[in-house]
């Protein structure tokens, strides 16, 4: 992967932080059944701009393509309703200088995005403005420079800035998802590591499918991934640098290691090690290579996940007889069971905001994705299905991505595995389109911070 440097320039500061009469804002703490009508004008392409190619095809109008990527982000967020472009009356270049707000009010837009893009040999420069149509005011204006092949990231960064301005929270559009790509029949699946942009674009396969791979997870530092590989029929946790392609086994364990995740500082990997029929939780420090045993119990202890401050670990264990969620201090002390509801609980994942734990619940033959507070109170089930598991948080803690498998028919046919996302509110459940079937998704941090 190429190193990406984005220059962020605030070039228009006249109305900065004038929020006294800011009328347009989006509440994301509840299910949003009334998404904000927003007009995303195509970015004006400066004359003389160089053409750029996408997968061998010349992009006719890069300004329009960027605006489309922004619109898809907004629609998928469930918080915005991007208006149809054929109702726009003002030309992109004029609108970017000074919108005629009455025209935009006429089509019921409450917010307007305008912009301008120019491309020279090796540089793409884009600027945008967000306008409050109701109050007839500019809300933000920013400009970016990058290489032309990064044009989709420009669209994602613009989306993030607008999301942040209108919701008050950081966005999650300039991110990637690593997952397991699946092909083949259910009894003989071929699995590869795959990485894509959060909106499904730019898919790349990182392994060839020669060996089974499972449960990839991003480092909070982004360029590292930890996952389980059955290379040479020895299931072990691996570390992969997605920029260099270099990979290595994590630790030197005489048996299966699995269920890896990074510590919040990216310095340790926490995982399970199975020996003689018993799985316990271990950590390995990636710098010092020191291995520490965190749990020591005859039960299955697995699926560990750190709290964002690194002080606690949640995990699942069947020490009570059935699979339940526990929380302990990061040194393994003070183990407390936090789930007492009906059914089994697994795959706990601590929210990046620290307040919630997402989990999979199995009860009466149904699988649920839910969230609860870190002490186990306030359980809320977001979605129910035949089979679904493995939630992963968006970096802002507002969206969960997970995978779902279908029930096969009486002939055992019709199996599929797909990635889905749902808002923390329980609304806005969406399929994430992938070229192949997919499972075990893990969401990266924001690429540009």
């Amino acid at each position: 992967m190429k190193k990406i440097i984005l220059f962020l320039v605030c070039f228009y500061l006249s109305i900065l932080s004038n929020s006294a009469i800011a009328l347009v804002e989006v509440d994301i703490t509840r299910g949003n059944l009334d998404p904000l009508p927003i007009a995303v004008s195509p970015l004006y392409v400066e004359p003389g701009s160089k053409e750029i190619q996408n997968e061998g095809k010349i992009i006719k109008n890069i300004g329009e393509e960027i605006s489309k990527v922004i619109e898809i982000n907004f629609r998928r967020s469930g918080l915005f309703n991007p208006l149809k472009k054929d109702s726009f009356v003002q030309n992109p270049d004029i609108a970017h200088i000074k919108p005629r707000f009455e025209d935009w009010r006429l089509i019921k837009a409450q917010a307007l995005v305008t912009g301008k893009v120019s491309i020279s040999e090796d540089k793409l420069r884009a600027e945008f403005r967000l306008w409050d149509v109701v109050a007839s005011k500019e809300m933000i204006a920013l400009a970016f420079s990058t290489t032309p092949d990064n044009w989709r990231r420009v669209a994602h960064i613009i989306s993030d800035k607008i999301y942040q301005r209108l919701t008050g929270e950081t966005g999650y559009f300039d991110t990637r998802i690593i997952y397991v790509s699946e092909t083949g029949k259910k009894t003989q699946r071929y699995k590869k590591l795959a990485i894509m942009d959060q909106d499904g674009a730019n898919v790349k396969y990182l392994t060839l499918g020669n060996e089974l791979v499972l449960t990839p997870r991003f480092s909070p530092k982004n360029q590292l991934v930890t996952y389980l590989s059955y290379f040479r029929n020895l299931p072990r946790v691996y570390l992969l640098d997605i920029e260099t392609g270099v990979q290595e086994v994590v630790g030197d364990f005489p048996g299966m290691t699995f269920a890896p995740r990074f510590s919040p500082d990216g310095k340790k990997i926490i995982m399970s090690f199975a020996q003689d029929g018993n799985s316990d939780i271990y950590t390995m420090n990636l710098e010092t290579r020191v291995v520490e045993r965190i749990t020591d119990h005859t039960s299955i202890d697995t699926s560990p996940s750190y709290s964002p401050d690194g002080k606690y670990i949640c995990f699942n264990s069947d020490r009570s007889g059935l699979q339940q969620i526990y929380v302990m201090r990061s040194d393994g002390s003070n183990v407390k069971r936090i789930t007492f509801g009906k059914g089994l609980y697994g795959t706990p994942v601590w929210s990046p905001r620290g307040d919630l734990i997402a989990f999979t619940k199995v009860h009466k033959g149904k699988f649920y994705i839910g969230v609860m507070r870190a002490d186990g109170s306030g359980e809320r089930l977001l979605t129910e299905n035949f089979y679904q598991e493995a939630p992963s948080w968006s970096p802002n803690g507002r969206v969960l991505i997970f995978y779902r498998e279908t029930k096969t028919n009486s002939q055992g046919e019709g199996f599929s595995a797909k990635l889905w996302s749902i808002d923390l509110t329980g609304y806005n459940e969406r399929l994430i389109e992938t070229e192949t079937d997919g499972s075990d998704p893990s969401w990266s941090s924001l690429l540009s911070k």
Binding site: T215, A274, G277, I300, G346, T347, T360, A390, E413
Partner: protein, 172 residues
């Protein structure tokens, strides 16, 4: 009660051939009575443990290659122990040059990571049992596939019971 006592004796003692035969008959009786009193039999399943012959392969004539488990359990049923004693006898007869991998598997009704651990636990339950019948641990390696390698692609209780299994595979 009697069944439990037998289980304990079985795993801690090695028996002479004739005593074992006696014990087998005895165990068969226990199975029958257990069947009649507590577990409902549904053709190919007892409780939710698979008891049929579909999917089963043979290491040698009369030596089944796999045993089946109840949901979320790794305990060996009396029928499983019977299969494993036959495996052990065959392994002893074949000599020390042969080694084996014991694959542990789970059904699709659990989370992936827990199932990996469960498959490992099941494979080790089999390994331990074979070792009590004189098979050296150095000849037996274990691998868990969790829910990754179902033998039956169905999404129904019978398919799941066939997938909750441990399979002994000859490795050389």
């Amino acid at each position: 009660m009697l069944k439990e006592l037998l289980t304990i004796r079985e795993t801690h003692m090695s028996f002479s051939g004739s005593f074992k035969k006696l014990l087998l008959i005895f165990l068969a009786g226990v199975v029958l009575s257990a069947c009649a009193t507590q577990k409902k039999s549904t053709g190919q399943m007892q409780g939710d443990v698979y008891t049929g012959n579909d999917t089963v392969e043979y290491l040698a004539s009369g030596v089944r290659d796999r045993v089946f488990f109840a949901t979320n359990k790794s305990t060996l049923t009396t029928a499983s122990r019977d299969v494993l004693r036959k495996q052990a006898a065959w392994m002893r007869a074949k000599g020390k040059s042969l080694s084996f991998t014991i694959e542990g598997h789970a059904d699709e009704r659990g989370t992936r990571e827990y199932n990996l651990a469960l498959g490992e636990r099941r494979a080790n339950a089999v390994k331990d049992y074979l070792m009590t019948y004189g098979i050296s641990g150095s000849r037996l390696s274990v691998i868990s596939y969790g829910k990754e390698r179902p033998v039956n692609s169905g999404s129904n209780p019978l398919a799941w019971s066939q997938n909750r299994r441990s399979v002994t595979v000859k490795t050389n």
